[in-house]
Amino acid sequence: MKFMIEDLPVLFPYPRIYPEQYAYMCDLKRTLDAGGHCVLEMPSGTGKTVSLLSLIVAYQQHYPEHRKLIYCSRTMSEIEKALAELKALMKYRADQLGQEEDFRGLGLTSRKNLCLHPSVKREKSGAVVDARCRSLTAGFVKEKKERGEDVDLCIYHDNLDLLEPHNLIPPGVWTLDGMLRYGERQKQCPYFTARRMMPFCNVIIYSYHYLLDPKIAERVSKELSKDCIVVFDEAHNIDNVCIESLSIDLTEDSLRKAARGATNLEKRITEMKETDAEKLQNEYSKLVEGLREADEARDEGAFMSNPALPDDLLKEAVPGNIRRAEHFTAFLKRFIEYLKTRMKVLHVISETPPSFLQHLKELTFIEKKPLRFCAERLTSLVRTLELTNIEDYQPLQEVATFATLVATYDTGFLLILEPYESDTATVPNPILHFTCLDAAIAIKPVFDRFSSVIITSGTISPLEMYPKMLGFTTVVQESYAMTLARRSFLPMIVTRGSDQGQISSGFQTRSDPANIRNYGALLIEFSKLTPDGIVVFFPSYLYMESVISMWQSMGVLDQVWKSKLILVETPDSQETSLALETYRTACSNGRGAILLCVARGKVSEGIDFDHHYGRTVLCIGVPFQYTESRILKARLEFLRETYRIRENDFLSFDAMRHCAQCLGRVLRGKDDYGIMVMADKRFAKKRTQLPKWISSALMESDANMSVDQAVASAKRFLKVMSKPFPIRLQEGISTWSYEDLMEHQSKLQSEKQREVRNGEANGGDYHLHGDEIMREAEAVEDEMEDADMEAAMMEIDA
């Protein structure tokens, strides 16, 4: 379908479009025109990715700036989905325009997924693949070869050097699979092809970490220009990703390894002094001058880079007392020894970076400034020493990164030392958490550098929380409802059991047998009435285990067993994937199954339960975080002090976004249907925090039900759903053909003109607003629902 949004011709690869997709595109265009950031929430399963891609590609091709698109997603499967979507879109465009556009779209993932080297690719762990790849491809290895030494090289990597550097791969969209195949045919490395071609791509699709994790971002995403359009998809968890990318945990074991690494470095330095003292001297004189090699940043093989540092600091010369290699190793050793000493303390400590530094200085005479240059100095040293077995130095690098971060940021970070793993443990196993409290620190460079950042997800409510936490301002922030021709999902809040006793996973009642029996009754009833699959979410593994064992003793599981197979998620990912496979088989062959899982586990995030794989989702209890965690407490305090977000507000926000994620798992499209049950009395008050598309479908009468009421309502709902529903009934309401769209546009146009005539037009804002479109679509929907639907249904019945 081809249509215009204002002056922009958009090619949409499907013959029909959803109203919310159109609204989404209009808002996107508005954002891009205004050149700012936006937060958009669009219900899951309504084709967010395709509308995003088709608008942005149209935008790229139509305007002369050809702004590059950087599309970040969270998991491999999502990246692949997006690439396939993009490929289909470009094919459609080529068909419609009658010519192939000069266009390149590439995906980037880790070396492990893209390696072709016969022996390296067989390695299991990603870290080993990375290390081995580096030892075959690093710049100095090549130099050695040229000098005539006998070293192994990767033929796939070297073949790249024979090609034109800006044309390593022909134009087009390459899926990861396609890249691998092309690489195999041409004998060239897909990973480095993708990395090197990034400046010449129109669309780049990769994981969050390539932009957010400062250790990687510096290497990978440095050369992207300012006018790039950055999209974070599935971004409801983005603050946690930011925080994780800057947090470091040190254990006694990792410190021991780091110390060993430092000793090894020392040995290498003495060796080198005997054989090739000149090289060290060169490095030294370069550091004296404060020069950095221009090609240093281009060195893909280098294994580490600086965490987020202010730019002016990066230009400064390395302080004099760690300039010499042997001084630096002694310095590192001293620092590690100090950390070891700190680890021996047997009570919990939490302190800010400044007080840590003060104490460090008193004890070991390590100043703040050299500490700040630690990571950089280590990188330089590793390069000079031409180390290949880099994985041995990983712990040392971690310590260096820690040193740099602790000396750079005074606020927004906290050091927490926990000597025991749990409160009851007696054998100390100390962990030093260096936690980032401020999500804005990691993402700040992204917002500073790129003019348009789009944050989008299926569940990102409340929208205003994200700009607040991440420290940016939006030009557009919008949440779209789902236009539906019939009510195809039924959200309910169950607050009482059949015995009218309130149900809750709250601390006081969580192990109350009556409470658990009521939950059991809920499960039994729904397992009887739901066809095929049910997914049940618990707030935590611990709670799930205790509930399951109590259900077992109450005989609940025996009754459930009659109608459904029971499968349980575990923290082990392989076991879980096995359970999932079994679950799918059972759903497909009609046996039906129940999957018991955890709201923050793997299942709740990446796995879709479309159609018969999930007809009911039960959320047992509000999935609050574990509030006794010291890290969480520190973060809450920080949020209150800096952003004025109250503890309870944040906890409830966090719980509800996970809950919404869980609920969204079952509805993956407009032809899908499902029941969403939130079983906790506390949900009744948190209704407003659900995404708009769920809360607008949640009726007042469904917001405070007992188990038997919920069962009756669910039965009624399923009866309606089981009737056949021809697609043509959706037309004009929840899907628009080209004519519908034109009609809508002309209607909007005439309205505008009328407004202009009446002199009410609001200034220069000529843009289409998504919410207007949605409002109208909803109005049509209401109209239809009453009159036409009845008629249509009668027709079918007859």
Partner: protein, 365 residues
Amino acid sequence: MSRLAQHKTSPITKREVRIGDAQDEVCPVCKSSRYLTPSLRFLINPECYHKMCESCVDRIFSHGPAQCPIPGCRKTLRKARFRAQRFEDLQVEREVDIRRRVAAVFNRREEEFETLHDYNNYLNEVEDITFNLINQIDIEETNRRFEEYEKMHEQEILENASLEEREKVAFRDAKKAERDLAKERRDLARKEEEEEKKEAEENKRDVLNRLAAGQDAEKVTKQGQQVTLKKRMDRQAAAERQRLLHLSDARNGSSSLIRGLKAKVKAEPEAPIDPFGGLKVETKYFSVQDDYVWAGVQETKADVLMGAGGYDVREFTTRALCDAFSGLGVFIGEDSAERERIGVDEKAVGTITAERGVKRMEAAS
């Protein structure tokens, strides 16, 4: 700072420290092990850094200085200098002791240097000395340098030491103040929350009362909601104001703390040579005026008869000015030299430029 930090004492207290692991917990002198004597404590002496247990120290050194009991080490040790081991690695322990000594003398600060390069070189030099002391390279030479420096900079060392002490105290005070402030804010937030809860309750009660009194239900609930909303907005606005105030306070306070290199004193820019000793020869420019007040013209200007014929005084003044100033841009000296060079008939043309004009005319025709 978190709540946890408040009951934090010095990070390393005697009672709670574990030193070393179980396997090396045997005193090298008396061979008693931690297994048999759980209260075993090891001490070291910064003379030779040999480790021994507390009872050995008591036994051997109670009667005055004695030789170290470790075979091969003949250092004379005193009891007073024995202390607990701080780092697991004795090398580091020793290094830190040496560093303490060095840091007490080489305590110049970044502010004292004008360029970063100098500062870095200084740091490098200090590190060299320290490194030599630690690894016992050129001990005599290094010690000599060390003492020399100490003697030369006696005064500065003292000054910097006191400065450092003051800074330390200031830091401690700032930390304490920060902690108090955090506590205050926490209390405030708690109080606020309670108040809000109480208010909500009150509001609810009020609505109920009014409903009981038989007022219009819809109106009452709406009013109640409005009241809550308004109160919340007020509170938020107040909080925001407070926060902004704090922010500006903090900004003002922090500016004094920023340190860096010593402010460079820029040399006065050297004045250009002035051969006339201040006498200035400046060119004066005049701009052409519309009207010149001059007795010869005034009458003509006022005369209607003159004006009626189309005569304008300005034409006259312009011509007069042209007459007066034309030729000022011509330098006779240059021109005559030029003329001689080309050998033109000087009567035919006035200036060399005119000559060129004539030539061009000829060429054109």
